[in-house]
Assembly symmetry: C2
Homo-oligomer: 446 residues x 2
């Protein structure tokens, strides 16, 4: 708990109504939201209902969707409807998506017709599409307006819009023509037309576009918001920079977890329940157990060679781990580069060539290091076996690690499924085969 | 290369001067920058010098710092100085930091006194502090101004500022009093004072604050910019949301690489040279080779037990990998949660308790699975050995993986140094000891 959350929490739990009201006005809604989340839903709502509904909605905007849903269960239906009317369109739709059928039925009659339709529309877009995080609270202008008139329109509409820093220019069919920065509107001559001030190279995403694509565009063009259009080019919503930021954080966490074979953990690790943590981990651990049976079978296959040269066992962990480690490095580099869009599927050939050169250099360096230990511990023959094995194992491990993310991506699977433990398991089994094959060939030569 | 980059690149390489000029005007500077980066420095500058300096500076703003530095080496010193004068203050300082002593000496006399001082000041802040990414191109207002007068000031200053969407209110000593949104200024009554419209709960970061802290605040408060103050509370700069976005992307990539034991890779993997890639990987691979000697030594220590029960070897990869895999999962969860600030150092006790419960459940589940294979392959005694070993190895592996990031963090090291391969190596060596100790105890009972 950080330094700002603790004092607010104290006041919410032990203060008088007046103390709480004062704190809720003085503190930033983001900090209040963070403190509320540390309370139970009942205590949180008891505090929240002391302030006017506009402020309740503002604080609601900073809560995560799980906690909002939890709060919704303890609030009177009228109170919930009042907040929902004041909420941003995108937050509102996210909340609606998480409510139970009964809760939805209780909520909807309390809303105005326009809000009901808006919620239904926004909630209808598929997860992980641009439509799912866009908001309908955008400001739009006609190209014929003068700068002065446009400012008057914006002045009137500002309170209901997520941002008026960038406004979208649309024709009478709502086709997106361009965008205009508030900055340029207020510095333009009073009679200049919006059409003359607007930027026409405004990039939009399609409503069914991948969410990651939309987020990357916001980062690429450094904009505060990105317009979303339908298949006909009509403006249907905007994605704001702060929502893009949150999505990017969540995607990075998800990829991070995935390469560590933690999957499907919806809540944060600080608040996830024990069953949630168990479920997020057990599947891959089991899969990997069975993956490692191949390594065991490999060893069993070479039992005679091992029995004859027990000294080989000393080097087994070093050799197979090195292949796994080199492979993990390659996979890590590829997974992240594919996720950030820094390299694309078509780059695999070029990347493969460089990977091969790097892997040969790494293999040679490590073979030199291990050969010294090999001579000391097992004599020159053993040293030769482990040096050759090391070179081959590092090269093969690196190539597995590099190619696996591309192959997964090719078959429309998340490249991050090429997790470090998966690459390690595959490289381990390959390493066992390489090592003992070379050992048998060299040590059992007649 | 994406679909937008290729056609621009074609024009830049094969078009006439007029074609190039037309393309540089029509396309978004972010897309032009991306296409320029695929050319050599000479070709890129040959295109870039066809457009006016204001536009050169705008495109420069979207290039990464490495490519800017490369371009600087092929430009005439007058041309570079002209662009630098037009660049944003923070980009300018970043470029300056990367120039050689000779290049700096050539550049500085071409700049105005104010720019020289600004560059020196911004370049003086330590890396990874808020000062290092802030810009001095912010707009500030006095609290006594009326809304109308404030808008006039902003209208005049807008072209030189990075953002006027949020303006900072300072007193005559430049002490930060609050901030005001452009949105609120244009909707306020004409004679309202800035002091009455401004928000006073504006959160700032200190100039020497950690950069990650600043980025987290921008995400937490959902703002377009965050003010930066010195030790006396005086406003010295702002950090904009787009720069925060880039920093967060870079930090996430860095952490991602670090858990895969790729360290210090400054360039992107698509453009890094072979020596850079080699250097980023070899150190950890070598460290881990020596780490795995412990596993080898453990196996050598139990050589008699192994020779007597060669069937044990079949299960060795499965058992030690499971400890490493469970540990990787725990480390992954902790590293990311610590990086996003979702859990703090003080949470370790609470997290440890839950980790222990989850680890026991995971260990029991995996013991059941492996015991079946144990009975089939080695008989009931072997099955008992491997089931007991599995439970203990998964628990110990999980705890190592969970605690290591906290321990590293405690000693001021990056928690992400608790990489998957490091955790795996430690868990491997521990697993060998646990497995063969249990095996010897049970199988060699008199």
């Amino acid at each position: 708990m950080d330094t700002r959350t603790q004092p607010i929490r104290e006041i919410l739990l032990t203060g008088t109504s007046d103390d709480i009201r004062a704190a809720l006005v003085a503190e930033h809604p983001a900090d209040i939201a963070k403190a509320l989340k540390t309370l139970g839903a009942h205590d949180a709502w008891a505090s929240l209902k002391l302030v006017p509904v506009e402020q309740q909605a503002e604080i609601f905007g900073y809560l995560d969707n799980d906690f909002r849903t939890l709060l919704a269960t303890v609030m009177a239906r009228g109170a919930l409807a009042a907040i929902v009317m004041e909420m941003n369109a995108d937050d509102r739709a996210d909340l609606y998506k998480q409510l139970s059928e009964d809760q939805r039925k209780a909520l909807m009659p309390g809303l105005a017709q326009a809000e009901r339709e808006d919620i239904r529309r926004l909630a209808s877009y598929e997860e992980d599409t641009a439509g799912a995080i866009m908001t309908s609270d955008y400001a739009a202008l006609s190209p014929e307006l003068s700068a002065t008139r446009a400012l008057t329109v914006l002045r009137r509409e500002a309170p209901d819009k997520e941002t008026i820093y960038r406004t979208y220019v649309i024709d009478s069919d709502r086709i997106l023509l361009g965008s205009v920065r508030l900055q340029d509107l207020i510095t333009a001559p009073a009679h200049a037309k919006v059409a003359d001030i607007m930027e026409t190279n405004t990039h939009a995403v399609r409503v069914d576009d991948d969410i990651e694509n939309a987020v990357r565009k916001i980062a690429h063009y450094d904009v505060v918001a990105l317009p979303v259009v339908d298949e006909a080019g009509r403006l249907v919503g905007i994605i704001t920079h702060d929502d893009a930021f949150d999505v990017m954080q969540a995607e990075a966490t998800d990829d991070f977890h995935r390469v560590g074979t933690v999957t499907g953990l919806e809540a944060s690790v600080g608040s996830a329940s024990i069953p949630m943590l168990y479920r997020a981990r057990i599947v891959w651990l089991m899969v990997l157990v069975f993956g490692n049976i191949f390594s065991g079978a490999g060893i069993a296959h070479f039992e005679d060679t091992i029995a004859a040269h027990l000294a080989l066992m000393f080097f087994l962990p070093i050799l197979i781990a090195s292949g796994g480690n080199a492979g993990s490095q390659s996979a890590t580099l590829m997974v992240r580069a594919l996720a950030t869009g820094e390299i694309g599927m078509s780059d695999w050939g070029r990347v493969l060539g460089r990977e091969l050169v790097v892997a040969i250099l790494l293999g040679l360096s490590m073979a030199c290091a291990i050969a010294v230990i090999g001579v000391v511990r097992g004599g020159p023959e053993i040293a030769l076996v482990i040096a050759l094995s090391m070179i081959l194992i590092v090269i093969v491990g690196s190539l597995i690690g590099m190619l696996l993310p591309f192959i997964l991506s090719r078959f429309n699977m998340d490249p991050a499924t090429a997790s470090t433990p998966l690459v390690t398991s595959i490289a381990d089994a390959t390493g066992v085969l390489i090592y003992f094959s070379i050992a048998r060939t060299i040590l059992e030569m007649p």
